[in-house]
Symmetry: C2
Subunit: 549 residues, 2 copies
């Protein structure tokens, strides 16, 4: 009996060891799926992803058991479950008609490349678990630094592989990149001085006491990304000390107000930790006047960070790079490779103009990151990290700068086409013009357009409120129908005197999106709007009476 | 001429679009590599990874150009480059003789699963870009919460899918998980009260003024992970306010000193932000007395966090889970699925006992994370995130709890075997006994052992310094030879009165590591030690004279 049990245990152990050694057979369920994905990704996704949206509450039923499964399960059985319940109900982010967010299609070589990366399972925190991946990541940071700052080749020779310096840091995403930039700025501002050991060692309370400030502020336009408030919370600055500077009609920061606000804060005993330029804004895709901001930051003597998480890849285009003129004056820049660099999710990058800046967040430990080592982990917020740099590297080499330019140019021109198309419609309103490949608009029944231009603020405000509901209604129905997807947001365009309105938001990053698809999107929205139960005829009648009165 | 240029531009664009639609041919270079990996990962890695270490300065030469490539490159050419220069020089983390760090082999099904995940390219920040992945991630958090806290099924029914609550958060790794836990603890400690809007809104300076403290401290044993000091820096607490509490001979926090230090800090006007229990320590693999720590934290009334980034998976084993007794009393717990849950890099998890705790870091935005939505991003430090939860889910289902138990038990028992083996050698010294699957030891030439036990502190100290150099020498040569790999660290074991010594550090998480491999590792180290130029005979002679005198 005892021998039997032992025999069983050994058999279990042997079968367990096999899952670390024996590959999936090509004719197994998982093997077949993998081949299907390799041979025809779009086909696989179109076939397996259910277009029509299931209710979230329905989907949740399939993921409702918090019990740990006690027994092992056959890989093929579990794969079937995932295919039916997870894959089928996931979002077709690479569909050409999914134009609502910044997640787009991937070049096909990304899949096998990713597989190599995952098979190698390197940990970039230290050389001992990443070897050649460390110089590779440093080179990618050098290339991106070069893209933004265009340093001399002697500069990169000196700093790129030096253990004492850092041209930037890979991060899981733009949020960590922004946090890292502001962390560096904070630690530099409140550096050691005299008896004070610096904010890194002694904390923010003692820092403010030592330097004689009542607080520290981050200045960014009201269009700044929500990760900046999150950073300020995290860093102990406080969300209310992220000061939202008003924008002009083009969603760009008002430079005069930026300057006067900085002065006023200073006069009130508040240190200016950083100014943050946005290139482009998440909601409207506009770019702050970076060169002018840099000048103000320089006057004030504060850190200038540019959040180019989304727009940074525009620098690959010789045609449109000038839209970001002044970015080379920033002390730090955030760029997400998983946005318009077409790399899978998880590839944020922060760059530092001055390679010694990251020294303000340097840290060491006994078993890794020893002083003098070239371990990347001594200058990153994160610890263990995967080798995503390989995917950015491969993409930059395979596409080349010219390849990226083609993609960037195409997306911007596609957005301009769509803006024009919207302008041609009687019953749509373009709300923000595309500067990059992002624009916002809404459906406005033709008769209401006249009222919106009537100058009667009470009426306009009432119509806008009605349209908010209509936009929300259409966006939800469109998403649920699953044929196409746009997102929605709320902005306060100057033509409506700062009144917040709900708009459709479109990002045209997918190179497979055609003009026909864009035409179809408008037609679908028009039809959906007409199914709205929101009482349009009644509203029209009421408004007519009001006008007559 | 003009027509020609346009024609060329169109051709370029078409070939570019193809990389988003046409898959890699099976007989292409990349296609072949992918198949090779699928069919025989270990074979692929053994064949392509060069065992003998190249000098880092040599490798850097292949990654030295910061210039962006202007022209596109054939996928096959670039793949060949990556194979020769990157893959060949990367670290064979899944080799059974790579026993120096926590990165281990992956079950084979992880590769195709990862490929599906990357092909879907979901963004977990919001439901609109992740749909079923959101309930899936919530379920995985529920399962992990259940593993740690074992709540009733009604508890999970109520909280798992509720938009107002959060059982935890997925993170890129243990560092972000620890930061998140301490962020939550800080914001809870300095919550809104009276006129004070809370630290999240108003920052740490005003928080301390309002609550009448001079600082805030995090208490953790001197074996705590370096990410805790990094967290304190980030959160504005300051690194020097991470108070290192001494440990006993088994590297466990001294409970009396923990209690008295907390009292003393309080008396000095310092708030206790959190106590952090370690399960297990990165350098020695030991586990703090968690239940006793919880009791002290409860007396003090502070947040109790357990950093079980590495040891947490022990909970899957009914045989060894009791080593972590008391973890269920923690307010928050960090577990890394990319460590002993055998998931690829990038899967950290933080869990909250009280599902309302994450409310202290809740945030919203207009275009995502709208109030009332179930978007996961409203309670995470990171923004855009990949669907790593799928891999944790698949692994828990395919291995089952019993499968994990087999892996955990085997690794602990392997470590015990290795400890015994070391003890049997005349010329090795076991420095820290394995509590989990991690141990430290060093090579000590037999004659020196007697001196180490002589009681002569001057001599012992001198021998230890010599051994530090020897250990470092052996560890480096072994790594360079590429046959096997152990890491090294510095610890201060009580038998040497707190003197820091350098030791080999071994983590036995790879189920494919055999007893033979462990025997070979010792033999290799013995032989390497004998090649040392560090003048052993002279030292021996000198010590003999000293003893005689």
């Amino acid at each position: 009996m005892r021998a039997e049990t032992n025999k069983q245990a050994t058999a279990n152990e042997e079968s367990l060891l096999r899952i670390f050694t024996v590959p999936e057979a090509p004719d197994s369920t998982l093997g077949r799926i993998e081949q299907e994905i390799s041979q025809n990704l779009n086909g696989f996704l179109s076939e397996h992803l259910v277009a029509k949206e299931h209710k979230l509450s329905e989907i949740e039923k399939d993921f409702s058991d918090a019990q740990l499964p006690e027994e092992p399960q056959f890989v093929s059985d579990h794969t079937s479950f995932l295919l039916d319940k997870l894959v089928a109900q996931s979002v077709h982010t690479s569909s050409p008609s999914f134009i609502g967010h910044m997640t787009s299609a991937l070049p096909y070589f990304m899949l096998p490349m990713s597989k190599i990366m995952i098979a190698l399972n390197q940990n970039l925190v230290k050389i001992e678990t990443s070897k050649a991946f460390t110089p590779l990541e440093r080179q990618v940071l050098g290339m991106m630094h070069n893209l933004v700052y265009g340093g001399a080749s002697s500069f990169y020779q000196e700093y790129m592989h030096s253990e004492q310096f850092s041209l930037g840091a890979f991060c899981s995403g733009g949020t960590i990149a922004n946090v890292t930039a502001l962390w560096v700025a904070r630690n530099n501002l409140f550096k050691p001085s005299g008896n004070f050991k610096g904010v890194a060692q002694s904390g923010l309370y003692k820092a403010l006491l030592h330097y004689g400030y009542k607080g520290a502020a981050v200045l960014v336009s009201e269009r700044g990304h929500y990760s900046l408030a999150k950073s300020a919370d995290l860093l102990g600055i406080g969300r209310e000390d992220v000061i939202a500077i008003p924008t002009d009609a083009n969603n760009r920061v008002d430079i005069d107000k930026l300057r006067s606000t900085a002065k006023q804060l200073r006069d009130n005993g508040i240190a200016i930790l950083a100014m943050v330029g946005v290139a482009g804004t998440t909601e409207t895709g506009n770019i702050d006047p970076l060169a002018e901001m840099a000048a103000v930051a320089s006057e004030v003597g504060c850190h200038f960070h540019v959040d180019a998480a989304w727009g940074g890849s525009t620098l690959f285009s010789h045609k449109y790079a000038s839209l970001l003129a002044g970015i080379e004056l920033a002390d730090s820049v955030t760029i997400d490779a998983h946005k318009q660099m077409y790399v899978p999710m998880g590839a944020g990058i922060v760059l530092f103009k001055d390679p010694s800046l990251a020294g303000h967040i340097e840290h060491h430990a006994e078993y890794v990151l020893r002083k003098g080592s070239k371990d990347l982990g001594s200058h990153t917020l994160e610890g263990s990290r995967p080798g995503m740099a390989m995917l950015v590297f491969a993409s930059m080499n395979i596409l080349g700068r010219k390849g990226y330019q083609l993609l960037i140019d195409r997306s911007i021109e596609q957005a301009r086409y769509f803006a024009e198309l919207i302008n041609q419609q009687d019953d749509f309103e373009l709300v923000s013009h595309p500067e990059l490949c992002l624009l916002t608009y809404r459906y406005v029944p033709a008769p209401l357009k006249a009222i919106l231009r009537s100058g009667n603020q009470v009426l306009i405000s009432q119509v806008n409120e009605y349209l908010d509901d209509l936009t929300k209604y259409v966006q939800k129905r469109q998403r649920e129908a699953g044929k196409s997807f746009v997102s929605r947001t709320r902005i306060n365009p100057s033509i409506y005197q700062g009144q917040s309105i709900t708009v459709f938001r479109v990002v045209l990053a997918n190179p497979l999106t055609t003009q026909q698809i864009l035409q179809d999107v408008l037609q679908e929205q028009r039809e959906l709007a007409q199914t709205s139960q929101i009482a349009l005829p009644m509203l029209m009648k009421m408004l007519a009476q009001w006008q007559a009165a």
